[in-house]
Homo-oligomer: 424 residues x 2
Amino acid sequence: VSAKAARTCEPPISDLIARALHTPGLISFAAGLVDEEMLPAKEVAAATRRVFAKASGRLALQYGTTPGLPALRQALVAHIAKLEGQPAARMGFDADDILLTTGSQQSLYLIAEALLDPGDIVIAANPSYFVYTGTLASIGARVLTVPMDEQGMQVAEVGRLLQKLDAANELSRVKFIYCTSFFQNPTGLTLSLRRRRELLDLARRYSRGHRILVVEDAAYRELQYDGRALPSIKSFDRANQYTVLTQTFSKPFAPGLKLGYTVMPPDLMQQVLRLKGNHDFGSANLSQWLALDLLRSGAYRRQVQKLKKQYTRKRDLLLRAMRDSFPPGIQWTMPQGGLYTWVTMPANVDTGPNGQLFARCLAQGALYVPGEYAYGPDAHGQIDRRHLRLCFGQVRTRDIKEGVARLARAMTAVLGKGEEAGRG
Amino acid sequence: VSAKAARTCEPPISDLIARALHTPGLISFAAGLVDEEMLPAKEVAAATRRVFAKASGRLALQYGTTPGLPALRQALVAHIAKLEGQPAARMGFDADDILLTTGSQQSLYLIAEALLDPGDIVIAANPSYFVYTGTLASIGARVLTVPMDEQGMQVAEVGRLLQKLDAANELSRVKFIYCTSFFQNPTGLTLSLRRRRELLDLARRYSRGHRILVVEDAAYRELQYDGRALPSIKSFDRANQYTVLTQTFSKPFAPGLKLGYTVMPPDLMQQVLRLKGNHDFGSANLSQWLALDLLRSGAYRRQVQKLKKQYTRKRDLLLRAMRDSFPPGIQWTMPQGGLYTWVTMPANVDTGPNGQLFARCLAQGALYVPGEYAYGPDAHGQIDRRHLRLCFGQVRTRDIKEGVARLARAMTAVLGKGEEAGRG
C-alpha cells in the first residue's frame, strides 16, 4: 500500500459503533447523528416534485460541474450574507468563491490535500473534531494543539505557539489553523467575538514568507438556541485572503443530501478545484438542485426553525437530567447551540474505552464518546483522559432521562459512591 | 501548496468547455455527457415518492455509512451476477466486497491513493481515459502505455513490458494495470474474451513479491448495442484477489445521482474504506436509496433499454453520416456500445487544439476532443496527434448530420481538397 494508506488508521469511533450494534437496548449519546424523527422527508419529497415538474428539472440528472450548480452557489452567497448580517461584497467574496462538496468533510479534506505535505504543521484546539485530526494525521501533518476555555480556543496560546515555531525556524511548515468557531464538536463551546478578530490578526501577522490560513469549520452555526448570533471569523477577512469558511446542509437540514459548501480565497479555490476534478469532478448534482429549491422555497428555513426547537428541548432535558442525577465532582459545558456537551470527570477517572467508567456505562446500557479520541497530546505530551462527549442529536427525547440515569449509576459506582447509584 | 497540488494540472478539457461555451450554435461531439432528452426525470420522481411514502424512507436523509447502503450493495451483487451470467459466489465476492462511491471516478481515485506512491508505475492502454491518467499523474505515478488494436489493449505488449520492467528491477514499482474493458473511452473498442483471461494471467504471474492488480473500468458495459455480451475480467478471478471492477449508474441510468460501485479484494477494501472515511465518510445517502428503489422496481432496467435504443440510433446516424461525407483517407472505429467513435486522420494531420483541423472545425461550428489528450507517450516517447474522439452521447439526434457535415468540410479543407468541401 502507499505511504498515505499506511498512515491511515481505522477511526477509533468504528469500534464504538460496532459495540453499540451488539448491545440491544443501548441508549447512545455517542454518534454525532441527527434527530431521526425530525428528518424532513415531506419537505424533500415536495422539493423533488417541484424540481421535476419543470422541463429544466431533468438537468438535475445530468452531470454537474466540479465547483457545483451556479444558481445554488449564488443562493448560498445570499444565505451566508444573511447569517453575517452584511452583504457578501463587503466580505470580498461572491459565487465564484464558493465550492460545493460531498459534505463539508470533503472540503476540509481537499483543503488539507492542497496545502499539506508530510511534516507540515496544523494548529488546532485541544480537544478538536477527531475525524478531521485523523484526516490530518493520514496526510502526514503534525497537529499542534492549544487549550480551550469557556471562550473557545485560547488564541493567546496560538500566538505563543506561533512565536515559538518562528524562533525554532519552523514557521514555514505551519499551513493553517483549524477552528470550529460555533458550538464546537466535541465541547459545545464557541469562540468569543474578540478572539475571532485576534485569531485572524495572528494569521495575517505570521503570514510572512507564505500565507497561514484560518480554516473555520462552522458546521453547527445555524443550530443556535440561546445567546447572540456571532459573525464568522471569515466576516472580518475583508479581502477573502486569510480564511476558509465551511458550512453544511447536514446539521441544520439533513445529512442525506451530503452537501457542504465552502468560501475560500480564489487562489486556493483554483488548487482545490483541480484536486476535486480528480476526486469526482463534482458532487451529486441532484442533491444540489434539491438544495436550491429548499433554500428558495423557504423549506430550508422552516426546517432549521423546527430543528432548533427540538434540539433546545433535548439539550434542556439532558442538562436538567445531568444536574439532577450526576454525582458531585463532575462538570459539564452549557452549550448555546450544536449537539454536544462535554463532561469533565475528577482527575483520577479514566474515561477511555479500556477504563472502568466506559465498561460500567456499557454494562448499564449507555454509550458516550471517550474524550481521548478528541485529544491530541498537550505541550507536555500528555493526553487528557478524564472527559467524555455526550451528543443529544440522535438520542430519542423519551430516552434522555433514562440514559443519563444509567450514566449516573456508572459514574457513581466508579467514584466509589455506591450508595448513590440508584438516585437517577 | 503541497507537492501533490503542484503536480495537479488543469484538465485539458476545461479549455475545450470554455471554447464551446463561447461559440453559439456549436455542435459538440466533445463532452462525454449523456443524452439530455432521455434523462429519467419521471422515473426518479416516482422513485422518490416511493422511498418517502414509507416511514423508513426518511432514513434516506440520515447519514449513511462509509461503504454505503447494505441493501443496495446486496442488490448490486445480484445485478453484477446477472450481467456475468453466473452467481457472485462463483466469483468469490459478496456485498461486503462492494463499495459505493461518488461516481466511479471517486473509486478509481481512492484505489490509486491506496496503492500508489510517487514514482510507482501503472500500465494503461494507449489511448486511455484521460481524466484518470491525469489523476494518476497528479498522484505522482508513471503511466506506461501499450498500444491497442481492434481487440482492445494489446495484452502481449503488457507481457513484454512487464518482462522488461522485471529485467530492469522495476517490477516492485508496478502496482496495477488499468483497463477499460468494454467500449473504451476514447476508442469505443472492447477487450476480446481471450485477452481478458490473458491479462488476468499476466497479473497473477507477475504478482511475486507483491500483488499487481487489474483495475477494470466497466463504465460503459451496459450500453451494448450489438454483438455478444462478454463477461468481465473480474469474472475469471475466482477468489476476488487480483481484480477491481468499477461500474456506475451515470452512463446506463443518470449521472445526476453521482453513484458508482466497485467490487474489490477484501484487503484492498479495508485500505480504501479508511481513506474514504477521511474523504467524506460516505457518499450521498439519498442517491443510494433512490438507486435501490430503481433497481428493485425495474425502472433502472427499463431506462437501460430505452438508452440502448436511443444510442443505437445516434451511433448509426453518426457512422452513416461519416461514411457519406468524410473525405477519403480517414478511418474510424465501429463501436458496439458506449458513446464514442475514434477517428484516425492521415499521418500528416495534427488534430491538436493548436492545429489547423481543430481551428477549422471550430470555425465551421463543430467540436471534437483532440486525440492527444488521451495519449501518453509511446515506447519511443512519441505522442500520436492524428486522432480525434467523437461522442454521440449528448449531441442532439437532429444535429448529428449537420455536425458531421461541418467536420467533413473542415477535414476536406485541411486535406487540401477544397473542391470536396461542400459535399456533406
